[in-house]
């Protein structure tokens, strides 16, 4: 990085550190922080989408859809998220390859599951074996993001379902009295007002989502945990920058990063709660006080 970094053996103190912290691998470490934000940006809209679909399915008048909605939200809540993170990407991967195989190689007669192997024809591979490494990485990242969205979508569905039903019934009766249809009542009365009720649950969910991001490492994504382990491990004298086991130090950096992220989010959501509840028939809206969204509520969830 710097001119004086050519011969690190003879450096010490400040110069050694300024060279050590700007090596190529360290730059990869710094950029991997964006992987965390990329995951958050990709998953949040999907989580809200799954949440809405789940909540609508739960109160559908069509029986199979209602059963599906209830099963989706309760099964995901009853099982550790890490199991879904391990299961969903590989299941999706095999599902996609299975379908591609059926379409593209319909002349194959051999079974796809041969003992302990999963065999599809070459052109059904997803992504193609000949693709660049970054395509494989991106594909893996999106499968992981989808797994996150499915899990957190179930939690969001629960919160949104509760929030839709928390809109005072008198207002819905008023809508009925005016001759609105079910759809109109939902779009004009329930949807605009539910946010104030959903916000405590959704902000809590955001905090949990932040804290679930290091699990990306378990899915093979080169995220901050991967680089912290990589860089922190003991480097013998063969390396340009030899040092002992510094993983503890690197993980403390990650700890501080997450604490900072939680702290900033907490301040942001406290402000947003005040804003959204203006004029609402809640304690926040009328009295103007703040409700600590992490305090006691039936909907409180937490996770890794």
């Amino acid at each position: 990085m710097f001119d004086f970094c050519i011969d690190p053996q003879n450096l010490d103190g400040f110069y050694w550190w300024s060279c050590y912290l700007t090596t190529g691998k360290h730059i990869s470490f710094y950029t991997s922080f964006f992987v965390v934000f990329a995951l958050l940006i990709v998953t949040v809209p999907l989580i809200l989408l799954f949440g809405f679909l789940g909540a609508i399915a739960r109160q559908s008048r069509i029986y199979p859809i209602r059963i599906f909605g209830i099963t989706y939200t309760s099964v995901v809540r009853g099982v550790p998220d890490i199991i879904f993170f391990l299961f969903v990407p590989i299941a999706l991967d095999q599902g996609i390859e299975y379908l591609r195989h059926k379409f593209k190689c319909s002349e194959w007669v051999e079974p796809i599951r041969q003992g302990n192997d999963f065999v599809v024809c070459q052109i059904a591979k997803m992504p193609m074996g000949s693709s660049d490494q970054w395509i494989h990485d991106t594909y893996g990242f999106f499968l992981a993001a989808l797994a996150f969205s499915i899990v957190f979508g179930a939690f969001a569905a629960n919160t949104i379902h509760g929030a839709i039903n928390a809109v005072p019934p008198a207002q819905i009766e008023t809508g009925v009295a005016y001759g609105m249809t079910r759809k109109q009542i939902f779009i004009r009365i329930q949807l605009p007002q539910m946010w104030a009720y959903a916000l405590p649950g959704l902000s809590n969910l955001w905090m949990i989502l932040i804290k679930a991001t290091p699990l990306l490492f378990l899915l093979g994504v080169q995220d901050i945990v991967y680089w912290a382990r990589e860089l922190g491990g003991t480097k013998t004298a063969r390396f340009t920058y030899p040092h002992s086991d510094w993983r503890l130090g690197y993980f403390i950096v990650l700890l501080v990063f997450y604490l900072f992220l939680s702290w900033v989010s907490e301040i942001f959501f406290n402000k947003l709660t005040l804003k959204v509840s203006k004029g609402q028939a809640t304690l926040n809206g009328t009295v103007g006080g703040t409700i600590d969204y992490i305090s006691v509520s039936d909907d409180e969830v937490r996770n890794s």
């Binding site: 099964v75 890490i82 391990l86 991001t213 937490r302």
Partner: protein
């Protein structure tokens, strides 16, 4: 090999009893059910011990955070903030790396007290090291729930107790604590469920599964790797977790009934 044979071979495999080698080829459905179920012993062990000790520690820290004295309030608030604000996954890493460094640091001390060398070795094992992390983690989350509940205790109740001449200690013990438990119980049930789910992370973070003695997820992912078929082991472990989650809900609801008996 009959399923009964598998049960005697692998039923207690996760705690080191039975056959040493894990099934490698011709993995049957029975193998998967038995071994994953065997791994659940670890999950239940972590959950019960961490929740039991965590409950008392959380009560103490919740009252400390509510204390007017800064010397009690500030450290407990910091403790809660750090453990609730960071991922459990990172906490596992940090604590493990710290414990790994322990014996190296403690050499001077160990020349005089020989036992300490032995004890620090155990800290890097999951049964103690991971348990400490889970205990600290659930303590922080429960303490925040209890603290929120203390703040919601009706002021009238406390004033009534003061009017009757109860001391502060008596008010804490007879008025605030029981009311706090009642108010917090729904959230605390959730916390217990999520702590139980968090136990699945133990062998997936830094703590190695010594001699392949791991928890349910350790075996489930072992089978998923070996058979390259995720559609069998993961639904099995999901089923186990749902069953135990229902048991937790039943236990906590029956306690909740006792807490609300007088109402």
């Amino acid at each position: 090999m009959s399923c009964l044979q598998t049960l005697t071979d692998y039923g207690l495999r996760s705690i080191g009893q039975g056959v040493r080698g894990l099934p490698k080829s011709d993995i049957t459905l029975c193998d998967q059910f038995v071994l994953i179920g065997s791994g659940m012993i670890w999950n239940v062990y972590f959950a019960i011990i961490a929740l039991f000790f965590g409950f008392f520690a959380a009560t103490a820290i919740a009252f400390a955070k509510n204390s007017p004295q800064a010397i009690l309030r500030v450290p407990s608030s910091i403790f809660i903030f750090i453990l609730r604000g960071s991922p459990l996954f990172i906490q596992f890493f940090i604590v493990y790396e710290t414990f790994v460094l322990f014996p190296k640091i403690g050499i001077d001390l160990n020349l005089i007290f020989m036992e300490i060398t032995v004890e620090t070795r155990w800290l890097t094992r999951a049964w103690l090291g991971a348990l400490i992390v889970l205990f600290l983690n659930t303590t922080a989350y429960s303490a925040q729930i209890f603290y929120g509940a203390i703040q919601s205790v009706p002021l009238g109740d406390i004033e009534a107790a003061q009017a009757l001449g109860l001391t502060n200690k008596q008010i804490n013990k007879r008025i605030i604590w029981p009311t706090m438990l009642r108010l917090a119980w729904a959230s605390y049930t959730n916390e217990a469920i999520f702590l139980f789910h968090a136990t699945a992370l133990v062998f997936f973070s830094s703590f190695p599964a010594w001699q392949q003695k791991g928890d349910a997820l350790y075996y489930a992912s072992y089978f998923a790797d070996k058979t390259f078929n995720p559609f069998v082991p993961y639904p099995i472990i999901a089923m186990y977790f749902i069953i135990f989650t229902i048991i937790i809900i039943l236990i906590f609801n029956s306690i909740n009934k006792k807490l609300n008996k007088h109402l």
